[in-house]
């Protein structure tokens, strides 16, 4: 077990993947000499060379598009998108190409590209640096989406994404980059595309991922102080979603609150709510409740705390759920 931050864990995971497989390479803006604006790739260029850690020209479509071609040539490129809000120039390459090439080729071609996107808010920054666009990718078949919330997952998911023959997008919880945690570097863990019950309870379930996982845990803790037993699930994989684990929990607890930083309307919470309601209809004591951001562009930093769901909003939703 080694203690490290989430950022360091990703760095270590990438380094290990690069060591083990010479076809793994990194691409992105400022990821080389600078080590990325968050220093997640620090030291990797000097360690593995400029031919394996590419400081690319400034074009996201070019980054993802050339990564597709590199993958077709046998490489396993890991692209960094500098901030969530700058993914969109690459949207066409991700949605119409990367996601579909395996199917288009009737399974003949694989494009094992990994895309790392530091995402989410509450970092006190300017426009387009704090968004949570995961739902815009989950809807597209052909992609897989991971959202680590802690150092252990950050370390292993980076490697598992790279090893996966499908394209994988990793949404990295940027405001948790400095969160420390234990990493077991020796035992390779199980299926990354599965959810994990990280706190047991029997009166309600809270599902969260990425940066909101600590908030969900804090809410469960606070609820316990009020005498309520709340189960917490770290969803971990956003596509596919591990509905079995969530459904099993809800069958037990009868109540579900889903929290995400993205706006509620059209967010992934709707999908989870709909499917879990279908699968656990008779177990539900209350409708599935969602806690998300409002249907507004991400607001200026000074008021972002009012926009992004926090402990109080999760607790308030739990209260509403218990009130049924």
């Amino acid at each position: 077990m080694t203690q490290m931050t989430v950022a360091k864990a990703i760095n270590a995971g990438l380094a290990r993947a690069m060591e083990e497989n010479p076809k793994v390479m990194l691409m992105g803006e400022d990821i080389g000499s600078l080590g990325g604006v968050y220093r997640v790739t620090e030291g990797l260029k000097s360690r593995f060379g400029a031919h394996r850690v590419l400081d690319t020209p400034l074009g996201e479509a070019g980054i993802v598009g050339t990564a597709v071609g590199l993958a077709e040539r046998g490489y396993r490129p890991v692209c960094e998108i500098q901030f969530d809000g700058f993914t969109f120039p690459a949207f066409n390459q991700i949605t119409t190409q990367l996601a579909k090439i395996h199917a288009r080729s009737d399974g003949r071609l694989t494009v094992p590209v990994t895309i790392r996107i530091p995402y989410g808010g509450v970092i006190g920054s300017v426009e387009h640096h704090s968004e949570s666009p995961e739902a815009l990718f989950a809807h597209t078949a052909g992609l897989r989406i991971l959202a680590p919330s802690n150092a252990q997952d950050a370390y292993w998911m980076s490697q598992q994404a790279i090893a996966c023959d499908d394209p994988v997008i990793i949404f990295e919880p940027k405001r948790r980059y400095w969160l420390k945690g234990d990493v077991d570097e020796t035992t390779s863990p199980g299926d990354p595309f599965s959810a994990s019950v990280i706190r047991e309870g029997h009166e309600a379930t809270v599902v969260a991922w990425g940066p909101l996982v600590p908030v969900a845990l804090a809410a469960a803790q606070a609820a316990q102080e009020d005498g309520r037993s709340v189960e917490v699930i770290d969803l971990r994989s956003l596509s596919p979603v591990d509905f079995d684990t969530v459904t099993a929990s809800v069958r037990k607890t009868g109540r579900l609150v889903i929290a995400h930083e993205a706006p509620t309307f059209g967010g992934l919470g709707g999908e989870i709510a709909a499917r879990v309601t279908e699968r656990a209809f008779y177990s539900l004591e209350a409708p599935v409740l969602r806690v998300g951001a409002y249907h507004l562009p991400y607001p200026p930093a000074a008021v972002e705390d009012h926009y992004v769901p926090d402990l109080d909003r999760v607790l308030e939703a739990l209260d509403r759920s218990f009130a049924y």
Partner: protein, 393 residues
């Protein structure tokens, strides 16, 4: 007489290469002529065969579509020299990235016409094995294949570097990559990013533009005031303008470019000025937007006709050759037709196995639901109601 072109006025200093003129006469071009000096009569006959075969298959495609046997067909008539001339000089290990009209390129790479027509039969979005032919699949989203070509080219260079640093320098010459796109697609932002990346990484990629003067109904003048080959200089690499209906000129320009690429001298751009003689697709009606006169004018510049005249007048090729080729092409078309008619779609169920390379819980669950649902229909009828809109473009 020179080919009509929307931009001759603005063409400025960029010369337009031509080795075989409209009357089948050879023209000297100091830069490019050496690149076709070694061509034998057999080579010329091969080029002729490929061009006419492609045209014959193309004709069959349109007729199959008219008869409801294809969902769509994309005619290539007029572009045979540009396509055959650029594909023929490539080596089996080079990788080609087409747009969606490069049938003659595909055939030159060994893709069988029937394989290719599966896409237009509506039974696959692909059709052939890209690895087997080193020929990527068609891409419907314009320009999207071009960054892939650049990345692939970057990969070939990385491979050589890796081999060299391991002390096992490859014995073969460097591979090259060709990215095809059209005058219309040249406007897409991804083309630009592709050029920047290619220049930045000295990628061995040839950007091969077929400027067929039209993007569906939009004339080339809307996309650019100047020849597209002019753009290359803005990225710091070479751009060549060539008569795209002159198969020798295209072969020479392509060989010149491939040589440069293999020497590690970075990307090259070729703009082949040609003409889409037919409709954009079988869903299109060119009378809505262009003049018969223009079509006629370009008709005189037919790429096949000029090679035929050249073979006749300068190589004493006689009727027998031309008749044999025509007969062979008819047979090819005949067999193709039979194959197309015999094609059946894969079961929809197979789609579930193609979306992901590795197991996927949602897809598995939906596959089970689908099979269950299908099993629920006990009647002999297919459960589908088959109302279709019946349009497409």
């Amino acid at each position: 007489m020179t080919a009509p072109s929307h931009h001759d006025a603005a063409a400025g200093t960029l010369p337009r290469h031509q080795l075989l003129d409209e009357r089948g006469e050879v023209r000297e071009d100091p830069a490019l002529s050496p690149y076709v000096e070694d061509l034998t009569l057999e080579d010329l006959q091969h080029l002729y065969r490929s061009m006419t075969a492609a045209r014959r298959v193309d004709k069959e495609g349109t007729s199959l579509q008219r008869q409801g046997q294809l969902v769509l067909w994309v005619p290539l008539r007029g572009q045979e020299a540009a396509q055959v001339g650029s594909a023929w000089p490539t080596r089996p290990t080079d990788r080609l990235f087409p747009s969606y009209r490069e049938h003659a390129v595909a055939f030159e790479r060994g893709v069988r016409p029937a394989e290719l027509m599966q896409l237009f039969r509506g039974i696959t979005a692909g059709g052939w094995d890209p690895e087997e032919h080193q020929m990527n699949l068609y891409t419907m989203v314009l320009a999207s294949q071009v960054p892939h070509a650049v990345g692939y080219a970057m990969g070939t260079a990385l491979d050589r570097r890796a081999a060299e640093s391991e002390g096992t320098p490859p014995e073969t010459e460097p591979e090259a990559v060709v990215a095809y796109f059209g005058d219309g697609a040249s406007t897409e932002g991804e083309i630009h990013e592709s050029m920047v990346f290619a220049a930045s990484y000295d990628a061995p990629v040839l950007f091969f533009i077929q400027n067929n003067q039209w993007a569906i109904s939009v004339p080339f003048a809307t996309q650019s005031r100047v020849p597209l080959a002019t753009r290359a200089a803005g990225y710091g690499f070479e751009g060549l303008r060539v008569d795209g209906n002159d198969v020798l000129g295209v072969v020479a320009a392509t060989r010149y470019a491939l040589e440069k690429l293999r020497a590690g001298e970075g990307p090259v751009l070729i703009e082949a000025e040609t003409y889409r003689m037919g409709a954009h697709t079988t869903a299109d009606d060119p009378t809505k937007y262009r003049e018969r006169d223009e079509e006629d004018e370009w008709g005189h510049l037919d790429p096949i006709e000029r090679l035929r005249v050249h073979l006749r007048t300068h190589h004493d090729v006689d009727d027998e050759f031309f008749e044999t080729v025509a007969r062979e092409n008819d047979e090819l078309a005949h067999e193709l037709r039979a194959e197309v008619l015999a094609m059946t779609p894969p079961a929809f169920e197979e789609s579930f196995a193609k979306a992901y390379a590795e197991p996927h819980s949602l897809v598995e669950a939906e596959r089970a639901e689908y099979l269950d649902y299908q099993a629920g229909f006990t009647t002999q009828d297919d459960p589908r109601d088959t109302e279709t809109g019946g349009t497409g473009a």
